[in-house]
Symmetry: C2
Protein backbone atom coordinates (compact mmCIF):
# COMPACT_ATOMS: atom_id res chain seq x y z
CA UNK A 1 0.00 0.00 0.00
CA UNK A 2 1.32 3.43 -0.95
CA UNK A 3 2.26 6.10 1.56
CA UNK A 4 0.32 9.35 1.98
CA UNK A 5 1.47 12.74 0.74
CA UNK A 6 1.20 15.57 3.26
CA UNK A 7 1.43 19.24 2.30
CA UNK A 8 2.18 20.96 5.59
CA UNK A 9 2.16 24.72 6.08
CA UNK A 10 4.90 26.02 8.37
CA UNK A 11 3.80 29.62 8.78
CA UNK A 12 5.91 32.70 8.06
CA UNK A 13 9.17 31.90 9.85
CA UNK A 14 8.85 31.78 13.64
CA UNK A 15 8.94 28.04 14.42
CA UNK A 16 6.43 28.62 17.21
CA UNK A 17 3.86 29.61 14.56
CA UNK A 18 3.64 26.02 13.35
CA UNK A 19 0.28 24.49 14.13
CA UNK A 20 0.06 21.63 16.61
CA UNK A 21 -0.85 19.38 13.67
CA UNK A 22 2.17 20.43 11.62
CA UNK A 23 4.35 19.86 14.67
CA UNK A 24 2.93 16.37 15.21
CA UNK A 25 3.43 15.40 11.56
CA UNK A 26 6.94 16.82 11.25
CA UNK A 27 8.10 15.31 14.55
CA UNK A 28 6.92 11.90 13.42
CA UNK A 29 7.96 12.06 9.77
CA UNK A 30 10.21 9.39 8.31
CA UNK A 31 10.57 11.33 5.07
CA UNK A 32 10.35 15.05 4.32
CA UNK A 33 10.64 17.03 1.09
CA UNK A 34 11.26 20.74 0.62
CA UNK A 35 12.27 23.26 -2.01
CA UNK A 36 15.82 24.59 -1.83
CA UNK A 37 17.27 27.39 -3.89
CA UNK A 38 20.58 26.60 -5.54
CA UNK A 39 23.36 27.75 -3.23
CA UNK A 40 21.06 28.85 -0.41
CA UNK A 41 19.71 27.27 2.76
CA UNK A 42 16.11 26.14 2.57
CA UNK A 43 13.87 28.48 4.58
CA UNK A 44 11.27 25.73 4.87
CA UNK A 45 13.79 23.27 6.25
CA UNK A 46 15.20 25.82 8.68
CA UNK A 47 11.74 26.55 10.16
CA UNK A 48 11.14 22.85 10.79
CA UNK A 49 14.73 21.86 11.63
CA UNK A 50 14.38 21.68 15.43
CA UNK A 51 11.67 19.01 15.17
CA UNK A 52 13.03 16.69 12.49
CA UNK A 53 13.86 13.18 13.67
CA UNK A 54 17.52 12.20 13.47
CA UNK A 55 18.10 10.21 10.31
CA UNK A 56 14.92 11.43 8.57
CA UNK A 57 14.97 10.79 4.81
CA UNK A 58 15.30 14.21 3.14
CA UNK A 59 14.25 15.02 -0.42
CA UNK A 60 15.64 18.46 -1.28
CA UNK A 61 14.29 19.86 -4.55
CA UNK A 62 16.57 22.43 -6.11
CA UNK A 63 14.14 24.80 -7.79
CA UNK A 64 14.66 28.27 -9.24
CA UNK A 65 12.84 31.18 -7.56
CA UNK A 66 10.14 31.62 -10.21
CA UNK A 67 8.05 28.44 -10.37
CA UNK A 68 6.24 29.20 -13.62
CA UNK A 69 9.11 28.57 -16.00
CA UNK A 70 10.48 25.57 -17.77
CA UNK A 71 13.51 24.91 -15.57
CA UNK A 72 11.43 25.13 -12.40
CA UNK A 73 8.84 22.82 -13.88
CA UNK A 74 11.53 20.28 -14.74
CA UNK A 75 12.77 20.50 -11.15
CA UNK A 76 9.26 19.82 -9.86
CA UNK A 77 8.93 16.90 -12.30
CA UNK A 78 12.08 15.42 -10.82
CA UNK A 79 11.08 16.18 -7.23
CA UNK A 80 7.64 14.65 -7.78
CA UNK A 81 9.22 11.45 -9.10
CA UNK A 82 11.51 11.16 -6.09
CA UNK A 83 8.55 11.72 -3.77
CA UNK A 84 6.49 9.19 -5.76
CA UNK A 85 9.20 6.57 -5.37
CA UNK A 86 9.14 7.00 -1.59
CA UNK A 87 5.32 6.90 -1.50
CA UNK A 88 5.29 3.76 -3.65
CA UNK A 89 7.66 2.20 -1.14
CA UNK A 90 4.89 2.56 1.44
CA UNK A 91 6.31 5.54 3.33
CA UNK A 92 4.48 8.83 3.96
CA UNK A 93 6.18 12.02 2.75
CA UNK A 94 5.71 15.34 4.55
CA UNK A 95 6.30 18.31 2.23
CA UNK A 96 7.51 21.32 4.21
CA UNK A 97 5.80 24.48 2.90
CA UNK A 98 6.64 28.05 3.89
CA UNK A 99 3.45 29.92 4.88
CA UNK A 100 0.38 28.10 3.59
CA UNK A 101 0.61 25.34 0.95
CA UNK A 102 -2.20 26.62 -1.33
CA UNK A 103 -1.30 30.33 -1.10
CA UNK A 104 1.47 31.08 -3.64
CA UNK A 105 3.11 27.86 -2.46
CA UNK A 106 5.36 25.65 -4.53
CA UNK A 107 3.49 22.67 -3.05
CA UNK A 108 0.75 23.35 -5.60
CA UNK A 109 3.10 22.18 -8.35
CA UNK A 110 3.70 18.87 -6.57
CA UNK A 111 -0.01 18.54 -5.84
CA UNK A 112 -0.82 18.95 -9.55
CA UNK A 113 1.57 16.11 -10.36
CA UNK A 114 0.74 13.65 -7.58
CA UNK A 115 -2.85 14.18 -6.36
CA UNK A 116 -4.39 11.76 -8.85
CA UNK A 117 -1.98 8.95 -7.96
CA UNK A 118 -1.69 9.18 -4.18
CA UNK A 119 -3.74 10.03 -1.13
CA UNK A 120 -3.05 13.66 -0.16
CA UNK A 121 -3.83 15.70 2.94
CA UNK A 122 -3.06 19.38 3.28
CA UNK A 123 -2.48 21.19 6.58
CA UNK A 124 -3.03 24.95 6.29
CA UNK A 125 -0.59 27.41 7.80
CA UNK A 126 -0.44 31.00 9.01
CA UNK A 127 0.32 33.29 6.05
CA UNK A 128 2.86 36.10 6.09
CA UNK A 129 -0.05 38.49 5.45
CA UNK A 130 -1.79 37.67 8.72
CA UNK A 131 1.52 37.45 10.57
CA UNK A 132 2.56 40.88 9.31
CA UNK A 133 -0.71 42.48 10.40
CA UNK A 134 -0.22 40.92 13.84
CA UNK A 135 3.41 42.04 14.08
CA UNK A 136 2.48 45.60 13.09
CA UNK A 137 -0.66 45.84 15.25
CA UNK A 138 -2.59 46.69 12.10
CA UNK A 139 -6.27 45.75 11.81
CA UNK A 140 -6.56 44.46 8.24
CA UNK A 141 -10.26 44.28 7.42
CA UNK A 142 -13.50 44.59 9.38
CA UNK A 143 -17.19 44.32 8.56
CA UNK A 144 -17.75 44.59 4.79
CA UNK A 145 -14.24 45.68 3.83
CA UNK A 146 -12.42 44.02 0.92
CA UNK A 147 -8.88 42.69 1.24
CA UNK A 148 -6.92 42.03 -1.93
CA UNK A 149 -3.64 40.15 -2.10
CA UNK A 150 -1.55 41.55 -4.94
CA UNK A 151 1.76 40.11 -6.18
CA UNK A 152 4.41 42.79 -6.66
CA UNK A 153 5.38 41.66 -10.18
CA UNK A 154 1.92 42.61 -11.54
CA UNK A 155 1.85 45.17 -14.37
CA UNK A 156 1.59 48.74 -13.11
CA UNK A 157 -1.83 49.59 -14.54
CA UNK A 158 -3.39 46.45 -13.12
CA UNK A 159 -1.79 47.05 -9.76
CA UNK A 160 -3.18 50.60 -9.66
CA UNK A 161 -6.71 49.46 -10.51
CA UNK A 162 -6.71 46.71 -7.90
CA UNK A 163 -5.39 49.00 -5.16
CA UNK A 164 -8.06 51.58 -5.90
CA UNK A 165 -10.81 48.97 -5.70
CA UNK A 166 -9.85 47.51 -2.32
CA UNK A 167 -10.20 48.78 1.24
CA UNK A 168 -7.01 47.02 2.25
CA UNK A 169 -4.24 45.41 0.24
CA UNK A 170 -1.27 43.22 0.96
CA UNK A 171 1.33 43.49 -1.78
CA UNK A 172 3.45 40.36 -1.58
CA UNK A 173 6.72 39.40 -3.27
CA UNK A 174 7.76 43.04 -3.39
CA UNK A 175 11.49 42.45 -3.96
CA UNK A 176 12.84 44.17 -7.05
CA UNK A 177 9.41 45.67 -7.84
CA UNK A 178 9.53 48.09 -4.92
CA UNK A 179 10.19 51.25 -6.95
CA UNK A 180 7.27 50.57 -9.29
CA UNK A 181 4.91 49.85 -6.40
CA UNK A 182 5.93 53.04 -4.60
CA UNK A 183 5.19 55.07 -7.72
CA UNK A 184 1.68 53.64 -7.90
CA UNK A 185 0.99 54.29 -4.21
CA UNK A 186 2.38 57.83 -4.46
CA UNK A 187 0.19 58.57 -7.47
CA UNK A 188 -2.84 57.34 -5.53
CA UNK A 189 -1.75 59.41 -2.50
CA UNK A 190 -1.86 56.29 -0.36
CA UNK A 191 1.77 56.14 0.78
CA UNK A 192 0.88 57.45 4.23
CA UNK A 193 -1.47 54.48 4.68
CA UNK A 194 1.27 51.95 3.93
CA UNK A 195 3.75 49.99 6.00
CA UNK A 196 6.73 48.10 4.63
CA UNK A 197 7.80 44.86 6.35
CA UNK A 198 10.39 42.25 5.46
CA UNK A 199 11.14 38.78 6.86
CA UNK A 200 8.03 38.75 9.05
CA UNK A 201 8.49 36.86 12.36
CA UNK A 202 12.01 35.81 11.34
CA UNK A 203 14.97 36.96 13.47
CA UNK A 204 15.78 39.72 10.95
CA UNK A 205 12.22 41.11 10.79
CA UNK A 206 12.25 44.80 9.87
CA UNK A 207 9.42 47.26 9.32
CA UNK A 208 9.02 50.99 8.68
CA UNK A 209 6.42 53.34 7.23
CA UNK A 210 6.62 52.93 3.45
CA UNK A 211 7.95 56.47 3.01
CA UNK A 212 11.07 55.39 4.95
CA UNK A 213 11.54 52.00 3.28
CA UNK A 214 14.97 51.07 1.89
CA UNK A 215 15.48 51.19 -1.86
CA UNK A 216 16.35 47.52 -2.11
CA UNK A 217 13.90 44.93 -0.82
CA UNK A 218 14.40 41.18 -0.41
CA UNK A 219 11.99 38.72 -2.03
CA UNK A 220 10.28 38.09 1.31
CA UNK A 221 8.98 41.61 1.76
CA UNK A 222 5.49 43.02 1.84
CA UNK A 223 3.55 46.27 1.84
CA UNK A 224 0.33 46.51 3.83
CA UNK A 225 -2.13 49.27 3.03
CA UNK A 226 -5.31 49.94 4.98
CA UNK A 227 -7.58 52.85 4.20
CA UNK A 228 -9.21 52.56 7.61
CA UNK A 229 -12.85 53.09 6.70
CA UNK A 230 -14.36 51.64 9.83
CA UNK A 231 -15.44 54.46 12.14
CA UNK A 232 -15.57 51.99 15.03
CA UNK A 233 -11.85 51.29 14.73
CA UNK A 234 -10.70 54.79 15.54
CA UNK A 235 -7.23 53.57 16.43
CA UNK A 236 -6.48 52.62 12.85
CA UNK B 1 2.90 46.91 36.86
CA UNK B 2 0.04 46.20 34.48
CA UNK B 3 -0.50 42.86 32.78
CA UNK B 4 -0.13 42.32 29.05
CA UNK B 5 -3.00 41.95 26.59
CA UNK B 6 -2.68 39.03 24.17
CA UNK B 7 -4.82 38.69 21.04
CA UNK B 8 -4.45 35.04 20.14
CA UNK B 9 -5.72 33.51 16.88
CA UNK B 10 -7.22 30.05 17.29
CA UNK B 11 -7.63 29.08 13.65
CA UNK B 12 -10.85 27.95 11.98
CA UNK B 13 -12.14 25.32 14.39
CA UNK B 14 -9.97 22.19 14.58
CA UNK B 15 -8.16 22.58 17.92
CA UNK B 16 -5.07 21.00 16.32
CA UNK B 17 -4.80 24.06 14.05
CA UNK B 18 -3.79 26.23 16.98
CA UNK B 19 -0.20 27.36 16.69
CA UNK B 20 2.36 26.14 19.21
CA UNK B 21 2.51 29.71 20.51
CA UNK B 22 -1.25 29.96 20.97
CA UNK B 23 -1.20 26.61 22.74
CA UNK B 24 1.55 27.74 25.10
CA UNK B 25 -0.23 30.99 25.95
CA UNK B 26 -3.66 29.42 26.45
CA UNK B 27 -2.33 26.54 28.55
CA UNK B 28 -0.58 28.99 30.83
CA UNK B 29 -3.25 31.69 30.97
CA UNK B 30 -4.60 32.85 34.30
CA UNK B 31 -7.29 34.95 32.59
CA UNK B 32 -8.99 34.58 29.21
CA UNK B 33 -11.61 36.69 27.44
CA UNK B 34 -13.82 35.76 24.49
CA UNK B 35 -16.92 36.89 22.66
CA UNK B 36 -20.09 34.91 23.27
CA UNK B 37 -23.36 35.29 21.44
CA UNK B 38 -26.40 35.59 23.66
CA UNK B 39 -27.86 32.13 24.18
CA UNK B 40 -25.15 30.29 22.24
CA UNK B 41 -21.92 28.56 23.16
CA UNK B 42 -18.77 30.51 22.35
CA UNK B 43 -17.00 28.99 19.34
CA UNK B 44 -13.73 30.59 20.45
CA UNK B 45 -14.01 29.11 23.92
CA UNK B 46 -14.91 25.67 22.57
CA UNK B 47 -11.82 25.57 20.32
CA UNK B 48 -9.55 26.35 23.27
CA UNK B 49 -11.50 24.48 25.94
CA UNK B 50 -9.28 21.40 26.17
CA UNK B 51 -6.25 23.49 27.12
CA UNK B 52 -7.69 25.93 29.64
CA UNK B 53 -6.33 25.60 33.16
CA UNK B 54 -8.86 24.60 35.82
CA UNK B 55 -10.07 27.70 37.62
CA UNK B 56 -8.94 30.12 34.89
CA UNK B 57 -10.59 33.54 35.24
CA UNK B 58 -13.04 33.86 32.32
CA UNK B 59 -14.32 37.13 30.87
CA UNK B 60 -17.21 36.30 28.52
CA UNK B 61 -18.35 39.28 26.44
CA UNK B 62 -21.92 38.95 25.25
CA UNK B 63 -21.85 40.69 21.88
CA UNK B 64 -24.36 40.73 19.03
CA UNK B 65 -23.31 39.12 15.72
CA UNK B 66 -22.70 42.37 13.84
CA UNK B 67 -19.88 44.30 15.56
CA UNK B 68 -20.44 47.61 13.78
CA UNK B 69 -23.55 48.71 15.59
CA UNK B 70 -24.26 50.61 18.75
CA UNK B 71 -25.25 47.65 20.96
CA UNK B 72 -22.15 45.68 19.95
CA UNK B 73 -19.95 48.69 20.57
CA UNK B 74 -21.45 49.11 24.04
CA UNK B 75 -20.72 45.43 24.71
CA UNK B 76 -17.08 45.94 23.64
CA UNK B 77 -16.87 49.03 25.85
CA UNK B 78 -17.97 46.91 28.78
CA UNK B 79 -15.71 43.98 27.84
CA UNK B 80 -12.74 46.29 27.45
CA UNK B 81 -13.34 47.75 30.90
CA UNK B 82 -13.50 44.28 32.48
CA UNK B 83 -10.27 43.33 30.69
CA UNK B 84 -8.65 46.61 31.72
CA UNK B 85 -9.50 45.95 35.37
CA UNK B 86 -7.75 42.57 35.21
CA UNK B 87 -4.73 44.06 33.42
CA UNK B 88 -4.51 46.86 36.00
CA UNK B 89 -4.45 44.18 38.69
CA UNK B 90 -1.19 42.96 37.15
CA UNK B 91 -2.54 39.87 35.40
CA UNK B 92 -2.15 39.09 31.68
CA UNK B 93 -5.33 38.51 29.67
CA UNK B 94 -5.43 36.17 26.67
CA UNK B 95 -8.23 37.07 24.27
CA UNK B 96 -9.40 33.98 22.37
CA UNK B 97 -10.00 34.89 18.71
CA UNK B 98 -11.61 32.64 16.09
CA UNK B 99 -9.41 32.51 12.99
CA UNK B 100 -6.95 35.40 12.94
CA UNK B 101 -7.32 38.41 15.27
CA UNK B 102 -6.80 41.14 12.62
CA UNK B 103 -8.87 39.51 9.87
CA UNK B 104 -12.57 40.36 10.43
CA UNK B 105 -11.95 39.62 14.09
CA UNK B 106 -13.82 41.15 17.00
CA UNK B 107 -10.44 41.51 18.74
CA UNK B 108 -9.86 44.62 16.64
CA UNK B 109 -12.56 46.41 18.64
CA UNK B 110 -10.82 45.59 21.91
CA UNK B 111 -7.46 46.56 20.42
CA UNK B 112 -8.84 49.98 19.43
CA UNK B 113 -9.94 50.54 23.03
CA UNK B 114 -6.92 49.19 24.92
CA UNK B 115 -3.77 49.43 22.77
CA UNK B 116 -2.83 52.92 23.93
CA UNK B 117 -3.15 51.99 27.61
CA UNK B 118 -1.55 48.53 27.80
CA UNK B 119 1.19 46.44 26.24
CA UNK B 120 -0.34 44.27 23.51
CA UNK B 121 0.97 41.29 21.56
CA UNK B 122 -0.94 39.60 18.77
CA UNK B 123 -0.48 35.99 17.71
CA UNK B 124 -1.72 35.36 14.16
CA UNK B 125 -3.84 32.33 13.32
CA UNK B 126 -4.82 30.17 10.37
CA UNK B 127 -7.78 31.75 8.57
CA UNK B 128 -10.85 29.88 7.40
CA UNK B 129 -9.89 30.91 3.85
CA UNK B 130 -6.60 29.01 3.91
CA UNK B 131 -8.15 26.14 5.85
CA UNK B 132 -10.96 25.81 3.31
CA UNK B 133 -8.54 25.70 0.38
CA UNK B 134 -6.58 22.98 2.19
CA UNK B 135 -9.71 20.98 3.03
CA UNK B 136 -10.91 21.16 -0.57
CA UNK B 137 -7.53 20.49 -2.20
CA UNK B 138 -7.95 23.75 -4.09
CA UNK B 139 -4.87 25.76 -5.10
CA UNK B 140 -5.90 29.34 -4.36
CA UNK B 141 -3.38 31.60 -6.08
CA UNK B 142 -0.04 31.12 -7.82
CA UNK B 143 2.51 33.41 -9.48
CA UNK B 144 0.97 36.81 -10.22
CA UNK B 145 -2.64 35.91 -9.50
CA UNK B 146 -4.81 38.17 -7.35
CA UNK B 147 -6.86 36.87 -4.43
CA UNK B 148 -9.68 39.02 -3.08
CA UNK B 149 -11.53 38.40 0.14
CA UNK B 150 -15.10 39.62 -0.22
CA UNK B 151 -17.69 39.79 2.58
CA UNK B 152 -21.05 38.35 1.54
CA UNK B 153 -23.09 41.34 2.78
CA UNK B 154 -21.46 43.63 0.13
CA UNK B 155 -23.86 45.36 -2.28
CA UNK B 156 -24.47 43.33 -5.42
CA UNK B 157 -22.88 45.70 -7.95
CA UNK B 158 -19.70 46.00 -5.90
CA UNK B 159 -19.54 42.27 -5.41
CA UNK B 160 -19.83 41.71 -9.17
CA UNK B 161 -17.08 44.20 -9.99
CA UNK B 162 -14.67 42.73 -7.42
CA UNK B 163 -15.27 39.16 -8.56
CA UNK B 164 -14.61 40.12 -12.18
CA UNK B 165 -11.34 41.81 -11.28
CA UNK B 166 -9.82 38.91 -9.30
CA UNK B 167 -8.31 35.60 -10.33
CA UNK B 168 -9.55 33.96 -7.18
CA UNK B 169 -12.04 35.06 -4.56
CA UNK B 170 -13.09 33.89 -1.15
CA UNK B 171 -16.55 35.14 -0.26
CA UNK B 172 -16.83 35.04 3.51
CA UNK B 173 -19.79 35.49 5.85
CA UNK B 174 -22.12 34.07 3.19
CA UNK B 175 -25.03 33.24 5.53
CA UNK B 176 -28.27 34.88 4.48
CA UNK B 177 -26.65 36.51 1.45
CA UNK B 178 -26.28 33.21 -0.41
CA UNK B 179 -29.07 33.78 -2.95
CA UNK B 180 -27.70 37.20 -3.96
CA UNK B 181 -24.16 35.84 -4.32
CA UNK B 182 -25.34 32.92 -6.46
CA UNK B 183 -27.14 35.34 -8.77
CA UNK B 184 -23.94 37.32 -9.30
CA UNK B 185 -21.84 34.21 -9.96
CA UNK B 186 -24.46 32.82 -12.34
CA UNK B 187 -24.56 36.10 -14.28
CA UNK B 188 -20.76 36.00 -14.58
CA UNK B 189 -20.93 32.32 -15.64
CA UNK B 190 -18.54 31.42 -12.83
CA UNK B 191 -20.73 29.02 -10.84
CA UNK B 192 -18.85 26.00 -12.20
CA UNK B 193 -15.62 27.43 -10.76
CA UNK B 194 -17.07 27.73 -7.26
CA UNK B 195 -17.18 25.50 -4.20
CA UNK B 196 -19.39 26.05 -1.18
CA UNK B 197 -18.06 25.09 2.26
CA UNK B 198 -19.45 25.59 5.76
CA UNK B 199 -17.93 25.07 9.23
CA UNK B 200 -14.43 24.44 7.85
CA UNK B 201 -12.40 21.93 9.92
CA UNK B 202 -15.18 21.73 12.51
CA UNK B 203 -16.87 18.35 13.12
CA UNK B 204 -19.85 19.40 10.98
CA UNK B 205 -17.75 20.57 8.00
CA UNK B 206 -19.73 20.27 4.76
CA UNK B 207 -18.80 21.17 1.18
CA UNK B 208 -20.32 20.79 -2.29
CA UNK B 209 -19.97 22.40 -5.71
CA UNK B 210 -21.84 25.71 -5.50
CA UNK B 211 -24.51 24.50 -7.93
CA UNK B 212 -25.51 21.87 -5.34
CA UNK B 213 -25.34 24.13 -2.28
CA UNK B 214 -28.29 24.24 0.14
CA UNK B 215 -30.60 27.24 0.06
CA UNK B 216 -29.91 28.20 3.65
CA UNK B 217 -26.34 28.83 4.75
CA UNK B 218 -25.02 29.38 8.28
CA UNK B 219 -22.96 32.48 9.14
CA UNK B 220 -19.73 30.45 9.04
CA UNK B 221 -19.94 29.55 5.37
CA UNK B 222 -17.77 30.49 2.41
CA UNK B 223 -17.59 30.30 -1.36
CA UNK B 224 -14.22 29.79 -3.01
CA UNK B 225 -13.82 30.67 -6.67
CA UNK B 226 -10.67 30.06 -8.70
CA UNK B 227 -10.49 30.78 -12.38
CA UNK B 228 -7.44 28.57 -12.71
CA UNK B 229 -5.31 30.66 -15.05
CA UNK B 230 -1.99 28.99 -14.32
CA UNK B 231 -1.15 26.57 -17.15
CA UNK B 232 1.39 24.87 -14.90
CA UNK B 233 -1.33 23.86 -12.47
CA UNK B 234 -3.21 21.67 -14.92
CA UNK B 235 -4.96 19.85 -12.09
CA UNK B 236 -6.91 22.91 -11.16
Amino acid sequence: MSGKLWGVGLGPGDPELLTLKAHRLISGAGAVAYPARAGADSLARSIAAAWLKPGVHEIAMEVPMEPARGPAQAAYDMGAERIAATLEGGQDVVVLCEGDPMFYGSFMYLFARLADRFEVEIVPGVTSVNASAAALGLPLVARNEVLSILPGPMPKARLRARIRAADAVAIVKVGRHLAKIREVLDELQLTDHCTYIERTTQPAQYSVPLAEAPEVAPYFSMILMTKGNDPWLSNR
